[in-house]
Symmetry: C2
Subunit: 224 residues, 2 copies
Amino acid sequence: MDQVRVIEIKKSIFEDNDRDADNLRAELKGKGVFLLNLMSSPGSGKTTTLIKTINSLKDRMKIAVMEADIDSDVDAKKIQEATGVHSIQLHTGGMCHLDAEMTRQGLAGLEQEADLVILENVGNLVCPAEFDTGATKNCMILSVPEGHDKPLKYPLMFSVCDLVLINKIDVMPYFDFDLDLCKKYVLKRNPNARIIPICAKTGEGIEEFAKWLEDNVHKQKGEK
Amino acid sequence: MDQVRVIEIKKSIFEDNDRDADNLRAELKGKGVFLLNLMSSPGSGKTTTLIKTINSLKDRMKIAVMEADIDSDVDAKKIQEATGVHSIQLHTGGMCHLDAEMTRQGLAGLEQEADLVILENVGNLVCPAEFDTGATKNCMILSVPEGHDKPLKYPLMFSVCDLVLINKIDVMPYFDFDLDLCKKYVLKRNPNARIIPICAKTGEGIEEFAKWLEDNVHKQKGEK
């Protein structure tokens, strides 16, 4: 396989991240590129979910992945090897989140055009929610072992997400996880959130997530 | 039960957090108080681990708990109800970590003396590792569902911890988690780290953690 490209991104020089993020979102709309900002705790299954979903979608559209990480390049390599899609690693230099300028630096580092760009944000339920990356939509993964009470404890994360994937539903019998209560807590934070229970390991729910992405990619191009 | 006290802590006014943290550590040593800074991802089982451990230790020493959270007071209430020990909630006002001054504000808000104070930091593997709280020792919990590769992805967290608890070992059969490899990765980050596999739900390993705490409390008082 090709070597994965690693980009050392720098902190934004712009004071007004929200304005910069809105500008980036408009530029992406103009180009017909759908950018998904994917957030979660460490270990919730972001990478496995991406691999399954990309393999389902890659023959239907051009996909690129930007993996943000403090300093490893484990995930970008894993995704490129498992799916063949163009993946780059963004090193945040210890930063706990990405902002719009950092996202812009990542996009500029992509070496192939894409209809769908997925940004895997730093594994953290706090800081990434506070900084608008300029992505078209936000998605987060909550995994069953983390507990159904997380929307109560990390309110901002759940309120900024358009889509919440509830992952590892195969292990629900081994954890005290109340799916209905969890959905209720998510909707309390964001009544418009779409919720899809999935199991990245077995593939359950992945088609529904892929369909959501595909619909959004079409919308972004003005095709639907 | 009594109402749990909630303290709104403010960001440090000190530029030099490291010096402030060293000062706090020395003051605690002078008073014979052992302060443990407990860190982890969201949902790794910090609160359940604390409840089990405190119930094992509370007849042998005076314990107090400071629960840091963005804005809920779920955990402090839960701990006070389940153990009877004095617990307060520290609201970080959206901040993703605690620094030494914030910890000092929490300690000043305790209404009872204690031999052991446990600070449950914000659920986050990135930022809390960057700010020395002034605690006597640092401990983190990694849970099996998060994956054995986390020491590779969150290097600083693992290098600052004196003790790593590997929790939820009861569900190891359902996850691709290699305990030996995980231990190797932890020791790569910090060759002096103590590692204890536990299951907060069943109680496995909790006595070993309680013993580690008890030994440290004695040391802090100069009794051993």
